[in-house]
Protein backbone atom coordinates (compact mmCIF):
# COMPACT_ATOMS: atom_id res chain seq x y z
CA UNK A 1 0.00 0.00 0.00
CA UNK A 2 1.38 3.36 -0.98
CA UNK A 3 1.86 5.84 1.82
CA UNK A 4 0.85 9.47 1.48
CA UNK A 5 3.79 11.79 1.09
CA UNK A 6 4.41 13.90 4.17
CA UNK A 7 5.04 17.58 4.03
CA UNK A 8 8.73 18.08 4.99
CA UNK A 9 7.79 21.22 7.00
CA UNK A 10 5.33 19.30 9.11
CA UNK A 11 8.16 17.36 10.75
CA UNK A 12 9.60 20.65 12.04
CA UNK A 13 6.44 21.60 13.96
CA UNK A 14 5.14 20.06 17.15
CA UNK A 15 1.55 18.90 16.89
CA UNK A 16 -1.06 19.33 19.62
CA UNK A 17 -0.83 15.60 20.23
CA UNK A 18 2.92 15.97 20.66
CA UNK A 19 2.48 18.74 23.23
CA UNK A 20 -0.08 16.62 25.03
CA UNK A 21 2.21 13.59 25.14
CA UNK A 22 5.14 15.72 26.26
CA UNK A 23 2.97 17.28 28.96
CA UNK A 24 2.00 13.84 30.22
CA UNK A 25 5.48 12.38 29.92
CA UNK A 26 7.23 15.13 31.85
CA UNK A 27 5.62 14.54 35.26
CA UNK A 28 5.70 10.79 34.69
CA UNK A 29 9.38 10.84 33.86
CA UNK A 30 10.00 12.91 37.01
CA UNK A 31 8.09 10.42 39.14
CA UNK A 32 9.68 7.36 37.59
CA UNK A 33 13.14 8.63 36.71
CA UNK A 34 15.42 6.08 38.32
CA UNK A 35 18.55 7.02 40.24
CA UNK A 36 21.74 5.05 39.74
CA UNK A 37 22.23 2.09 42.06
CA UNK A 38 25.68 0.90 43.18
CA UNK A 39 25.76 -2.87 43.60
CA UNK A 40 28.21 -5.06 45.55
CA UNK A 41 28.27 -8.80 46.14
CA UNK A 42 29.35 -10.72 49.24
CA UNK A 43 29.30 -14.14 47.63
CA UNK A 44 25.73 -14.86 48.76
CA UNK A 45 23.74 -11.66 48.57
CA UNK A 46 23.68 -8.55 46.44
CA UNK A 47 23.89 -5.29 48.39
CA UNK A 48 22.98 -1.84 47.14
CA UNK A 49 23.89 1.77 47.77
CA UNK A 50 22.53 4.99 46.29
CA UNK A 51 24.31 7.96 47.88
CA UNK A 52 22.45 10.38 45.62
CA UNK A 53 19.02 9.06 46.69
CA UNK A 54 17.50 11.24 49.44
CA UNK A 55 14.08 10.33 50.70
CA UNK A 56 14.01 12.15 54.05
CA UNK A 57 12.43 15.17 52.38
CA UNK A 58 8.99 16.73 51.90
CA UNK A 59 5.92 15.32 53.65
CA UNK A 60 7.65 12.34 55.29
CA UNK A 61 10.28 14.67 56.77
CA UNK A 62 7.59 17.05 58.01
CA UNK A 63 5.83 14.18 59.77
CA UNK A 64 9.08 13.05 61.34
CA UNK A 65 9.83 16.57 62.54
CA UNK A 66 6.33 16.63 64.07
CA UNK A 67 7.53 13.80 66.30
CA UNK A 68 5.65 11.01 64.47
CA UNK A 69 7.06 7.71 63.29
CA UNK A 70 7.05 7.15 59.53
CA UNK A 71 7.15 3.74 57.86
CA UNK A 72 9.14 3.35 54.65
CA UNK A 73 8.45 0.32 52.47
CA UNK A 74 11.29 -0.91 50.28
CA UNK A 75 11.51 -3.54 47.59
CA UNK A 76 14.57 -4.89 45.80
CA UNK A 77 13.82 -6.68 42.52
CA UNK A 78 16.23 -8.92 40.61
CA UNK A 79 15.55 -9.62 36.94
CA UNK A 80 17.49 -11.20 34.11
CA UNK A 81 15.47 -9.62 31.29
CA UNK A 82 15.61 -5.87 31.94
CA UNK A 83 12.57 -5.82 34.26
CA UNK A 84 10.20 -7.70 31.97
CA UNK A 85 9.82 -10.46 34.56
CA UNK A 86 11.20 -10.58 38.09
CA UNK A 87 13.41 -13.44 39.22
CA UNK A 88 13.24 -12.54 42.91
CA UNK A 89 11.85 -9.79 45.18
CA UNK A 90 12.68 -8.82 48.76
CA UNK A 91 10.28 -6.39 50.43
CA UNK A 92 11.26 -4.75 53.75
CA UNK A 93 9.79 -2.24 56.21
CA UNK A 94 11.69 0.44 58.10
CA UNK A 95 10.32 2.68 60.85
CA UNK A 96 11.95 6.10 61.04
CA UNK A 97 11.52 8.57 63.89
CA UNK A 98 13.17 11.86 64.76
CA UNK A 99 14.39 12.65 68.26
CA UNK A 100 12.97 16.09 69.03
CA UNK A 101 15.62 16.88 71.63
CA UNK A 102 18.74 15.40 70.04
CA UNK A 103 17.62 16.25 66.50
CA UNK A 104 18.82 12.88 65.28
CA UNK A 105 17.07 10.05 63.47
CA UNK A 106 16.33 6.56 64.71
CA UNK A 107 15.62 3.67 62.32
CA UNK A 108 14.20 0.20 63.02
CA UNK A 109 14.16 -2.56 60.45
CA UNK A 110 11.04 -4.63 61.07
CA UNK A 111 10.68 -8.36 60.61
CA UNK A 112 12.97 -11.26 61.36
CA UNK A 113 16.13 -10.12 63.14
CA UNK A 114 14.58 -6.75 63.94
CA UNK A 115 17.27 -4.18 64.68
CA UNK A 116 17.41 -0.49 65.55
CA UNK A 117 19.99 2.27 65.25
CA UNK A 118 19.73 5.78 66.64
CA UNK A 119 21.59 9.11 66.80
CA UNK A 120 21.94 9.23 63.01
CA UNK A 121 22.01 12.22 60.67
CA UNK A 122 19.49 12.21 57.80
CA UNK A 123 22.10 11.00 55.31
CA UNK A 124 23.35 8.30 57.68
CA UNK A 125 19.79 7.10 58.36
CA UNK A 126 19.10 6.87 54.63
CA UNK A 127 22.38 5.01 54.07
CA UNK A 128 21.65 2.57 56.95
CA UNK A 129 18.30 1.76 55.37
CA UNK A 130 19.93 0.87 52.05
CA UNK A 131 22.76 -1.02 53.80
CA UNK A 132 20.12 -3.26 55.33
CA UNK A 133 18.42 -4.37 52.16
CA UNK A 134 19.93 -7.25 50.23
CA UNK A 135 18.78 -9.87 47.78
CA UNK A 136 20.05 -13.42 47.37
CA UNK A 137 22.02 -14.22 44.26
CA UNK A 138 21.31 -17.94 44.56
CA UNK A 139 20.97 -19.59 41.17
CA UNK A 140 22.35 -16.66 39.26
CA UNK A 141 25.30 -17.72 37.03
CA UNK A 142 28.41 -15.53 37.24
CA UNK A 143 28.28 -14.61 33.54
CA UNK A 144 24.56 -14.03 33.16
CA UNK A 145 23.48 -10.40 32.83
CA UNK A 146 21.00 -9.18 35.43
CA UNK A 147 19.28 -5.97 36.50
CA UNK A 148 18.39 -4.66 39.95
CA UNK A 149 15.68 -2.18 40.90
CA UNK A 150 15.32 -0.61 44.34
CA UNK A 151 11.95 0.97 45.11
CA UNK A 152 11.09 2.92 48.21
CA UNK A 153 7.95 4.70 49.31
CA UNK A 154 6.60 6.21 52.51
CA UNK A 155 3.55 4.35 53.81
CA UNK A 156 0.34 6.34 54.03
CA UNK A 157 -0.36 7.67 57.53
CA UNK A 158 -2.95 5.38 59.07
CA UNK A 159 -6.48 6.20 58.06
CA UNK A 160 -8.13 3.13 59.57
CA UNK A 161 -8.80 4.92 62.83
CA UNK A 162 -10.82 7.52 61.01
CA UNK A 163 -12.56 5.06 58.68
CA UNK A 164 -13.34 2.35 61.22
CA UNK A 165 -14.01 3.12 64.83
CA UNK A 166 -16.47 2.43 67.62
CA UNK A 167 -19.21 3.84 65.44
CA UNK A 168 -18.40 1.33 62.69
CA UNK A 169 -17.34 1.93 59.13
CA UNK A 170 -17.56 5.61 58.21
CA UNK A 171 -18.72 5.61 54.58
CA UNK A 172 -18.32 9.38 54.23
CA UNK A 173 -14.66 9.15 55.20
CA UNK A 174 -14.15 6.15 52.92
CA UNK A 175 -15.51 8.10 49.95
CA UNK A 176 -13.16 10.98 50.82
CA UNK A 177 -10.17 8.63 50.81
CA UNK A 178 -11.05 7.07 47.46
CA UNK A 179 -11.69 10.53 46.01
CA UNK A 180 -8.20 11.79 46.79
CA UNK A 181 -6.28 13.11 43.81
CA UNK A 182 -3.17 11.14 42.85
CA UNK A 183 -0.89 14.06 43.71
CA UNK A 184 -1.89 13.62 47.35
CA UNK A 185 -0.37 10.13 47.39
CA UNK A 186 2.88 9.45 49.15
CA UNK A 187 6.05 10.00 47.11
CA UNK A 188 8.19 7.10 45.92
CA UNK A 189 11.78 6.76 44.82
CA UNK A 190 13.42 4.33 42.41
CA UNK A 191 17.05 3.42 41.72
CA UNK A 192 18.18 0.92 39.10
CA UNK A 193 21.30 -0.83 37.91
CA UNK A 194 22.06 -3.13 34.98
CA UNK A 195 22.98 -4.99 32.98
CA UNK A 196 25.47 -6.39 35.51
CA UNK A 197 27.30 -9.69 35.93
CA UNK A 198 28.30 -11.25 39.24
CA UNK A 199 31.81 -11.79 37.93
CA UNK A 200 32.23 -8.07 37.24
CA UNK A 201 30.98 -6.87 40.63
CA UNK A 202 33.11 -5.46 43.39
CA UNK A 203 33.31 -8.20 46.03
CA UNK A 204 32.65 -7.24 49.66
CA UNK A 205 35.48 -8.26 51.98
CA UNK A 206 35.09 -11.05 54.54
CA UNK A 207 32.79 -13.37 52.59
CA UNK A 208 33.90 -16.24 50.41
CA UNK A 209 32.43 -16.66 46.98
CA UNK A 210 30.00 -19.51 46.80
CA UNK A 211 30.40 -22.19 44.20
CA UNK A 212 27.69 -21.67 41.65
Amino acid sequence: MARAKRDPEATETITRRGWLLAGLALPLSRAWSAERLDVTWDGDDLHVAAPQLHFLVGKPLNRLQDGLAVVFLTQLTLTTDNFTTSLRRTPDRFVFSYDLWEEKFSVTKLGEGQRTVSHLSAAAAEAWCLDNVAISSTGLPQDRPFWLRFELRAAEPKDEAAVIGDAGLNLTRLIEIFSRRPRDQQPQWIAEAGPLRLGDLRRLAGRAARTL
Binding site: S97, G165, L169
Partner: protein, 418 residues
Protein backbone atom coordinates in the same frame (compact mmCIF):
# COMPACT_ATOMS: atom_id res chain seq x y z
CA UNK B 1 -18.01 -17.54 45.63
CA UNK B 2 -15.65 -15.18 43.80
CA UNK B 3 -17.11 -12.22 45.69
CA UNK B 4 -16.62 -14.07 48.95
CA UNK B 5 -12.94 -14.45 48.14
CA UNK B 6 -12.66 -10.79 47.17
CA UNK B 7 -14.35 -9.81 50.42
CA UNK B 8 -11.96 -12.06 52.35
CA UNK B 9 -8.93 -10.45 50.69
CA UNK B 10 -10.28 -6.93 51.39
CA UNK B 11 -11.01 -7.86 54.99
CA UNK B 12 -7.63 -9.50 55.52
CA UNK B 13 -5.84 -6.43 54.19
CA UNK B 14 -7.80 -4.22 56.57
CA UNK B 15 -7.12 -6.55 59.47
CA UNK B 16 -3.42 -6.53 58.75
CA UNK B 17 -3.31 -2.81 58.09
CA UNK B 18 -2.66 -1.80 61.67
CA UNK B 19 0.78 -2.23 63.20
CA UNK B 20 2.70 -0.99 66.22
CA UNK B 21 5.13 1.30 64.34
CA UNK B 22 4.39 4.22 66.62
CA UNK B 23 5.71 2.18 69.56
CA UNK B 24 9.13 2.39 67.89
CA UNK B 25 9.05 6.16 67.99
CA UNK B 26 12.26 7.34 69.67
CA UNK B 27 10.28 10.10 71.45
CA UNK B 28 8.45 7.60 73.67
CA UNK B 29 11.23 8.06 76.24
CA UNK B 30 10.16 11.67 76.82
CA UNK B 31 7.55 12.91 79.30
CA UNK B 32 4.45 14.82 78.22
CA UNK B 33 4.70 18.41 79.49
CA UNK B 34 1.41 19.75 78.16
CA UNK B 35 -1.46 18.88 75.84
CA UNK B 36 -3.02 21.52 73.61
CA UNK B 37 -5.88 21.62 71.15
CA UNK B 38 -5.55 23.75 68.04
CA UNK B 39 -7.36 24.17 64.76
CA UNK B 40 -10.90 24.68 63.58
CA UNK B 41 -13.22 23.99 66.52
CA UNK B 42 -11.24 22.78 69.51
CA UNK B 43 -13.47 24.29 72.22
CA UNK B 44 -16.41 21.87 72.01
CA UNK B 45 -15.04 18.69 73.53
CA UNK B 46 -16.64 17.20 76.63
CA UNK B 47 -15.22 17.69 80.08
CA UNK B 48 -14.60 13.92 80.33
CA UNK B 49 -12.43 13.86 77.24
CA UNK B 50 -10.66 17.05 78.32
CA UNK B 51 -9.88 15.29 81.61
CA UNK B 52 -8.36 12.35 79.72
CA UNK B 53 -6.14 14.74 77.75
CA UNK B 54 -4.97 16.34 80.97
CA UNK B 55 -4.10 12.93 82.41
CA UNK B 56 -1.44 12.47 79.70
CA UNK B 57 0.63 15.20 81.35
CA UNK B 58 3.45 13.87 83.50
CA UNK B 59 3.40 10.41 81.85
CA UNK B 60 5.75 9.00 79.24
CA UNK B 61 4.62 9.64 75.68
CA UNK B 62 2.28 6.90 74.48
CA UNK B 63 1.63 7.26 70.71
CA UNK B 64 -1.13 4.63 70.80
CA UNK B 65 -2.99 6.66 73.44
CA UNK B 66 -2.58 9.79 71.29
CA UNK B 67 -4.05 7.97 68.28
CA UNK B 68 -6.95 6.78 70.43
CA UNK B 69 -7.63 10.27 71.79
CA UNK B 70 -7.38 11.84 68.31
CA UNK B 71 -10.06 9.40 67.13
CA UNK B 72 -12.28 10.23 70.09
CA UNK B 73 -11.90 13.99 69.56
CA UNK B 74 -12.73 13.57 65.88
CA UNK B 75 -15.81 11.54 66.74
CA UNK B 76 -16.99 13.96 69.39
CA UNK B 77 -16.54 17.05 67.21
CA UNK B 78 -17.72 15.30 64.00
CA UNK B 79 -14.80 16.83 62.10
CA UNK B 80 -12.94 15.54 59.06
CA UNK B 81 -9.65 14.78 60.80
CA UNK B 82 -7.74 15.21 64.03
CA UNK B 83 -3.98 14.82 63.87
CA UNK B 84 -1.37 15.30 66.52
CA UNK B 85 2.18 16.55 66.56
CA UNK B 86 4.90 16.91 69.13
CA UNK B 87 7.02 19.88 70.02
CA UNK B 88 9.92 20.26 72.40
CA UNK B 89 8.79 21.20 75.89
CA UNK B 90 10.09 24.02 78.06
CA UNK B 91 11.80 21.50 80.36
CA UNK B 92 14.50 19.15 79.07
CA UNK B 93 13.34 15.65 78.09
CA UNK B 94 9.73 16.86 77.92
CA UNK B 95 7.45 17.22 74.91
CA UNK B 96 4.30 19.19 74.17
CA UNK B 97 1.44 17.38 72.44
CA UNK B 98 -0.68 19.42 70.05
CA UNK B 99 -3.89 17.95 68.64
CA UNK B 100 -4.84 19.73 65.43
CA UNK B 101 -8.53 19.71 64.53
CA UNK B 102 -9.07 19.96 60.77
CA UNK B 103 -12.30 20.52 58.89
CA UNK B 104 -15.56 21.96 60.05
CA UNK B 105 -18.03 19.65 61.74
CA UNK B 106 -19.54 17.29 59.20
CA UNK B 107 -23.15 18.10 58.39
CA UNK B 108 -23.80 14.57 57.20
CA UNK B 109 -22.06 11.28 57.85
CA UNK B 110 -22.89 7.86 56.51
CA UNK B 111 -21.65 4.82 58.41
CA UNK B 112 -22.00 1.07 58.90
CA UNK B 113 -22.19 0.61 62.71
CA UNK B 114 -22.61 -3.16 62.46
CA UNK B 115 -21.79 -5.73 59.82
CA UNK B 116 -21.39 -9.43 60.45
CA UNK B 117 -21.48 -12.52 58.31
CA UNK B 118 -21.99 -15.92 59.97
CA UNK B 119 -21.63 -19.09 57.98
CA UNK B 120 -24.82 -20.48 59.58
CA UNK B 121 -26.95 -17.33 59.70
CA UNK B 122 -25.94 -15.17 56.74
CA UNK B 123 -25.36 -11.45 56.72
CA UNK B 124 -26.57 -8.95 59.33
CA UNK B 125 -25.91 -5.26 59.13
CA UNK B 126 -26.99 -1.71 59.72
CA UNK B 127 -26.29 1.25 57.43
CA UNK B 128 -27.14 4.70 58.73
CA UNK B 129 -26.76 8.36 57.87
CA UNK B 130 -26.58 11.12 60.47
CA UNK B 131 -27.24 14.80 59.87
CA UNK B 132 -25.89 17.05 62.61
CA UNK B 133 -27.23 20.51 63.34
CA UNK B 134 -25.44 22.06 66.28
CA UNK B 135 -25.79 19.65 69.20
CA UNK B 136 -28.71 17.86 67.62
CA UNK B 137 -28.36 14.81 65.41
CA UNK B 138 -30.91 13.18 63.12
CA UNK B 139 -30.17 9.61 62.07
CA UNK B 140 -31.88 7.38 59.56
CA UNK B 141 -30.87 3.78 58.99
CA UNK B 142 -31.67 0.54 57.21
CA UNK B 143 -31.18 -2.74 59.03
CA UNK B 144 -31.41 -6.46 58.45
CA UNK B 145 -30.34 -8.51 61.47
CA UNK B 146 -30.50 -12.26 61.85
CA UNK B 147 -28.01 -12.36 64.71
CA UNK B 148 -29.46 -10.57 67.74
CA UNK B 149 -32.82 -12.24 68.29
CA UNK B 150 -34.67 -15.46 67.56
CA UNK B 151 -36.11 -13.73 64.48
CA UNK B 152 -34.51 -11.95 61.53
CA UNK B 153 -35.78 -8.38 61.57
CA UNK B 154 -35.42 -6.06 58.59
CA UNK B 155 -36.58 -2.51 58.21
CA UNK B 156 -35.83 1.08 59.04
CA UNK B 157 -34.79 3.03 62.11
CA UNK B 158 -34.70 6.74 62.84
CA UNK B 159 -33.25 8.61 65.79
CA UNK B 160 -33.28 12.15 67.13
CA UNK B 161 -30.58 13.02 69.63
CA UNK B 162 -29.86 16.13 71.66
CA UNK B 163 -26.42 15.79 73.23
CA UNK B 164 -26.87 18.69 75.61
CA UNK B 165 -30.25 19.15 77.20
CA UNK B 166 -29.73 22.36 79.25
CA UNK B 167 -26.40 20.96 80.51
CA UNK B 168 -23.84 18.61 78.98
CA UNK B 169 -24.68 16.12 81.74
CA UNK B 170 -28.16 15.50 80.36
CA UNK B 171 -28.88 14.02 76.91
CA UNK B 172 -32.08 13.11 75.17
CA UNK B 173 -32.79 10.68 72.38
CA UNK B 174 -35.88 9.39 70.64
CA UNK B 175 -35.71 6.16 68.65
CA UNK B 176 -38.18 4.86 66.13
CA UNK B 177 -37.94 1.40 64.58
CA UNK B 178 -40.16 -0.41 62.09
CA UNK B 179 -39.36 -3.98 61.10
CA UNK B 180 -40.67 -6.92 59.16
CA UNK B 181 -39.85 -10.30 60.70
CA UNK B 182 -38.74 -13.62 59.26
CA UNK B 183 -38.84 -16.79 61.32
CA UNK B 184 -36.81 -19.94 61.32
CA UNK B 185 -38.77 -23.17 60.89
CA UNK B 186 -37.36 -24.43 64.20
CA UNK B 187 -38.97 -21.50 66.02
CA UNK B 188 -42.41 -21.96 64.47
CA UNK B 189 -42.24 -25.72 65.13
CA UNK B 190 -41.32 -25.14 68.78
CA UNK B 191 -44.22 -22.71 69.21
CA UNK B 192 -46.64 -25.19 67.65
CA UNK B 193 -45.40 -27.94 69.98
CA UNK B 194 -45.83 -25.80 73.10
CA UNK B 195 -49.23 -24.50 72.02
CA UNK B 196 -51.13 -22.73 74.78
CA UNK B 197 -48.50 -23.73 77.36
CA UNK B 198 -46.03 -21.29 75.84
CA UNK B 199 -45.01 -18.44 78.16
CA UNK B 200 -44.21 -16.09 75.29
CA UNK B 201 -46.01 -14.44 72.39
CA UNK B 202 -46.69 -16.09 69.05
CA UNK B 203 -44.70 -15.11 65.99
CA UNK B 204 -45.43 -11.68 64.55
CA UNK B 205 -45.20 -10.23 61.06
CA UNK B 206 -44.25 -6.65 61.83
CA UNK B 207 -42.96 -4.73 64.82
CA UNK B 208 -42.70 -1.00 65.59
CA UNK B 209 -41.05 0.67 68.54
CA UNK B 210 -40.94 4.27 69.78
CA UNK B 211 -38.48 4.83 72.62
CA UNK B 212 -37.80 8.20 74.27
CA UNK B 213 -34.79 8.12 76.60
CA UNK B 214 -33.07 10.67 78.85
CA UNK B 215 -29.47 10.01 79.90
CA UNK B 216 -27.88 11.60 82.95
CA UNK B 217 -24.08 11.65 83.32
CA UNK B 218 -23.81 10.93 87.05
CA UNK B 219 -20.04 10.79 87.24
CA UNK B 220 -17.12 11.50 84.93
CA UNK B 221 -13.37 11.97 85.14
CA UNK B 222 -10.82 10.02 87.20
CA UNK B 223 -13.29 7.93 89.30
CA UNK B 224 -14.88 6.66 86.08
CA UNK B 225 -17.88 7.40 83.92
CA UNK B 226 -21.37 6.58 85.15
CA UNK B 227 -24.54 7.09 83.11
CA UNK B 228 -28.14 6.52 84.03
CA UNK B 229 -30.73 6.30 81.26
CA UNK B 230 -34.43 6.44 81.96
CA UNK B 231 -37.23 6.22 79.46
CA UNK B 232 -40.00 4.15 78.03
CA UNK B 233 -40.51 1.84 75.10
CA UNK B 234 -43.78 1.61 73.21
CA UNK B 235 -43.60 -1.53 71.13
CA UNK B 236 -46.43 -2.75 68.87
CA UNK B 237 -46.37 -5.94 66.87
CA UNK B 238 -48.81 -7.69 64.57
CA UNK B 239 -49.31 -11.33 65.54
CA UNK B 240 -49.98 -13.85 62.79
CA UNK B 241 -51.53 -16.77 64.66
CA UNK B 242 -54.17 -17.74 65.58
CA UNK B 243 -55.52 -14.55 63.99
CA UNK B 244 -53.91 -11.34 62.80
CA UNK B 245 -54.08 -8.76 65.59
CA UNK B 246 -51.94 -6.00 67.05
CA UNK B 247 -50.42 -6.41 70.48
CA UNK B 248 -48.26 -4.10 72.49
CA UNK B 249 -45.43 -4.44 74.98
CA UNK B 250 -45.01 -1.03 76.57
CA UNK B 251 -42.26 -0.86 79.14
CA UNK B 252 -40.33 1.46 81.42
CA UNK B 253 -36.66 1.29 80.52
CA UNK B 254 -33.76 1.94 82.88
CA UNK B 255 -30.07 1.40 82.27
CA UNK B 256 -27.16 2.12 84.57
CA UNK B 257 -23.63 1.89 83.12
CA UNK B 258 -20.23 2.36 84.70
CA UNK B 259 -16.85 2.51 82.98
CA UNK B 260 -13.44 2.97 84.48
CA UNK B 261 -9.92 2.78 83.09
CA UNK B 262 -6.96 2.47 85.43
CA UNK B 263 -3.48 3.00 84.03
CA UNK B 264 -0.74 1.75 86.30
CA UNK B 265 2.98 2.29 85.90
CA UNK B 266 4.49 0.98 82.71
CA UNK B 267 2.25 -0.12 79.89
CA UNK B 268 -0.26 -1.96 82.11
CA UNK B 269 -3.88 -0.93 81.95
CA UNK B 270 -7.08 -2.18 83.52
CA UNK B 271 -10.54 -1.40 82.31
CA UNK B 272 -13.87 -2.07 84.00
CA UNK B 273 -17.23 -1.82 82.33
CA UNK B 274 -20.45 -2.81 84.02
CA UNK B 275 -24.11 -2.30 83.34
CA UNK B 276 -27.58 -3.24 84.49
CA UNK B 277 -30.76 -2.72 82.53
CA UNK B 278 -34.40 -3.26 83.38
CA UNK B 279 -37.37 -3.28 81.03
CA UNK B 280 -40.60 -3.43 82.99
CA UNK B 281 -43.79 -3.79 80.97
CA UNK B 282 -46.99 -3.03 82.78
CA UNK B 283 -50.67 -2.62 81.99
CA UNK B 284 -50.36 0.90 83.40
CA UNK B 285 -48.70 1.79 80.11
CA UNK B 286 -51.37 -0.04 78.13
CA UNK B 287 -49.25 -3.14 77.58
CA UNK B 288 -50.80 -6.49 76.65
CA UNK B 289 -47.81 -8.21 78.27
CA UNK B 290 -46.65 -7.78 81.86
CA UNK B 291 -43.07 -8.73 82.57
CA UNK B 292 -39.74 -7.53 83.91
CA UNK B 293 -36.56 -8.22 81.96
CA UNK B 294 -33.34 -7.84 83.97
CA UNK B 295 -29.96 -7.96 82.30
CA UNK B 296 -26.53 -7.32 83.79
CA UNK B 297 -23.03 -7.51 82.43
CA UNK B 298 -19.49 -6.97 83.73
CA UNK B 299 -16.41 -6.70 81.57
CA UNK B 300 -12.84 -6.63 82.83
CA UNK B 301 -9.86 -6.01 80.54
CA UNK B 302 -6.23 -6.23 81.56
CA UNK B 303 -3.65 -5.07 79.00
CA UNK B 304 0.10 -5.27 79.17
CA UNK B 305 2.42 -4.63 76.25
CA UNK B 306 0.76 -6.09 73.20
CA UNK B 307 -1.23 -8.64 75.19
CA UNK B 308 -4.72 -8.37 76.57
CA UNK B 309 -6.90 -10.64 78.69
CA UNK B 310 -10.61 -9.99 78.83
CA UNK B 311 -13.47 -11.50 80.77
CA UNK B 312 -17.13 -10.80 80.00
CA UNK B 313 -19.90 -12.01 82.26
CA UNK B 314 -23.53 -11.55 81.19
CA UNK B 315 -26.65 -12.75 82.96
CA UNK B 316 -30.33 -12.13 82.50
CA UNK B 317 -33.73 -13.12 83.86
CA UNK B 318 -37.30 -12.47 82.77
CA UNK B 319 -40.23 -12.70 85.09
CA UNK B 320 -43.75 -12.76 83.66
CA UNK B 321 -44.79 -13.38 80.07
CA UNK B 322 -42.56 -11.53 77.61
CA UNK B 323 -42.82 -11.45 73.81
CA UNK B 324 -40.23 -13.30 71.71
CA UNK B 325 -38.05 -10.26 70.97
CA UNK B 326 -37.36 -9.80 74.70
CA UNK B 327 -36.16 -13.38 75.26
CA UNK B 328 -32.46 -14.16 75.59
CA UNK B 329 -30.54 -16.15 73.05
CA UNK B 330 -27.13 -17.80 73.01
CA UNK B 331 -25.31 -19.12 69.95
CA UNK B 332 -24.89 -15.96 67.92
CA UNK B 333 -21.80 -13.93 66.95
CA UNK B 334 -21.09 -12.69 70.49
CA UNK B 335 -22.56 -15.25 72.91
CA UNK B 336 -21.58 -18.92 72.92
CA UNK B 337 -20.00 -18.56 69.50
CA UNK B 338 -19.82 -21.77 67.51
CA UNK B 339 -23.25 -23.01 68.61
CA UNK B 340 -26.36 -22.54 66.51
CA UNK B 341 -29.05 -20.75 68.52
CA UNK B 342 -31.82 -22.81 66.95
CA UNK B 343 -30.15 -26.00 68.20
CA UNK B 344 -29.89 -24.59 71.73
CA UNK B 345 -33.35 -23.10 72.11
CA UNK B 346 -35.28 -21.92 69.04
CA UNK B 347 -37.56 -19.76 71.21
CA UNK B 348 -34.79 -18.29 73.35
CA UNK B 349 -34.99 -18.56 77.11
CA UNK B 350 -36.11 -16.48 80.08
CA UNK B 351 -32.92 -17.25 82.03
CA UNK B 352 -29.41 -16.84 80.72
CA UNK B 353 -25.87 -16.77 81.99
CA UNK B 354 -22.74 -16.49 79.85
CA UNK B 355 -19.05 -15.93 80.28
CA UNK B 356 -16.28 -15.28 77.78
CA UNK B 357 -12.56 -15.40 78.47
CA UNK B 358 -10.47 -13.96 75.69
CA UNK B 359 -6.73 -13.57 75.20
CA UNK B 360 -5.38 -11.25 72.53
CA UNK B 361 -1.85 -10.80 71.33
CA UNK B 362 -1.59 -7.99 68.83
CA UNK B 363 -4.27 -8.90 66.30
CA UNK B 364 -4.48 -12.60 67.23
CA UNK B 365 -7.28 -13.71 69.47
CA UNK B 366 -8.32 -16.94 71.23
CA UNK B 367 -11.51 -17.26 73.22
CA UNK B 368 -13.42 -19.65 75.42
CA UNK B 369 -17.17 -19.16 75.79
CA UNK B 370 -19.42 -20.93 78.25
CA UNK B 371 -23.07 -20.37 78.96
CA UNK B 372 -26.49 -21.73 79.64
CA UNK B 373 -29.96 -20.76 78.51
CA UNK B 374 -33.10 -22.16 79.99
CA UNK B 375 -36.65 -21.40 81.09
CA UNK B 376 -37.76 -20.96 84.66
CA UNK B 377 -38.40 -24.33 86.24
CA UNK B 378 -35.98 -26.17 83.95
CA UNK B 379 -32.44 -27.29 84.83
CA UNK B 380 -29.76 -25.24 83.09
CA UNK B 381 -27.28 -27.10 80.85
CA UNK B 382 -23.85 -25.51 80.66
CA UNK B 383 -22.31 -25.50 77.17
CA UNK B 384 -18.86 -24.48 75.97
CA UNK B 385 -17.11 -23.36 72.82
CA UNK B 386 -13.62 -22.27 71.79
CA UNK B 387 -12.32 -20.27 68.89
CA UNK B 388 -9.55 -18.31 67.24
CA UNK B 389 -9.71 -15.01 65.46
CA UNK B 390 -8.04 -11.93 64.06
CA UNK B 391 -9.09 -8.54 65.40
CA UNK B 392 -8.00 -5.08 64.35
CA UNK B 393 -9.62 -1.65 64.57
CA UNK B 394 -13.13 -3.01 65.10
CA UNK B 395 -12.78 -5.60 62.32
CA UNK B 396 -13.01 -9.21 63.39
CA UNK B 397 -12.75 -12.61 61.72
CA UNK B 398 -13.14 -15.77 63.81
CA UNK B 399 -13.64 -19.49 63.63
CA UNK B 400 -15.58 -20.94 66.57
CA UNK B 401 -15.97 -24.61 67.55
CA UNK B 402 -18.75 -25.93 69.82
CA UNK B 403 -17.50 -28.41 72.42
CA UNK B 404 -19.84 -31.36 72.18
CA UNK B 405 -19.92 -35.01 71.30
CA UNK B 406 -20.50 -36.19 67.75
CA UNK B 407 -20.19 -34.18 64.58
CA UNK B 408 -18.68 -30.74 65.11
CA UNK B 409 -19.24 -28.06 62.53
CA UNK B 410 -17.24 -24.87 63.10
CA UNK B 411 -18.87 -21.50 62.55
CA UNK B 412 -17.02 -18.82 60.59
CA UNK B 413 -17.74 -15.20 61.44
CA UNK B 414 -16.40 -12.04 59.88
CA UNK B 415 -17.45 -8.46 60.35
CA UNK B 416 -17.01 -5.41 62.49
CA UNK B 417 -18.37 -3.95 65.72
CA UNK B 418 -20.21 -7.06 66.79
Amino acid sequence: MRFLWLASIFWSSLLLAGSPEQEMNVNTRYTVESVELAGDSPAGISSGLRGELTRLVGNKLDPAALDDLATRIRRELHVRAVTHRLLRGQKPEHVRVVFVVRGTPAKFEASVPKLVYRSDAGLSGLVEGTATVGRQAFTFGVVSDGDDLAERYSGIMARYEDKRLATDRVRFRLDFESYHEQWNQATTNALTEQGAASDTSGIYRTRQNVEPLVTFVLMSGAPGLMNLSVGSSFERFQSQFPAARTESANAMVTTLRYHRRVESSGANQQEWDAGYSLRAATSLLGSDFAYACHRGDVQYVYSWGRSQVQDDLTAGAITGRAPLFERFILGNSTLLRGWNRFDLDPLGGNRMVHNTVEYRYRLFDVFYDSGAIWDQGQSPVLRHSVGVGLRQNGLYAALAFPIKEGHIEPVFMVGMNY
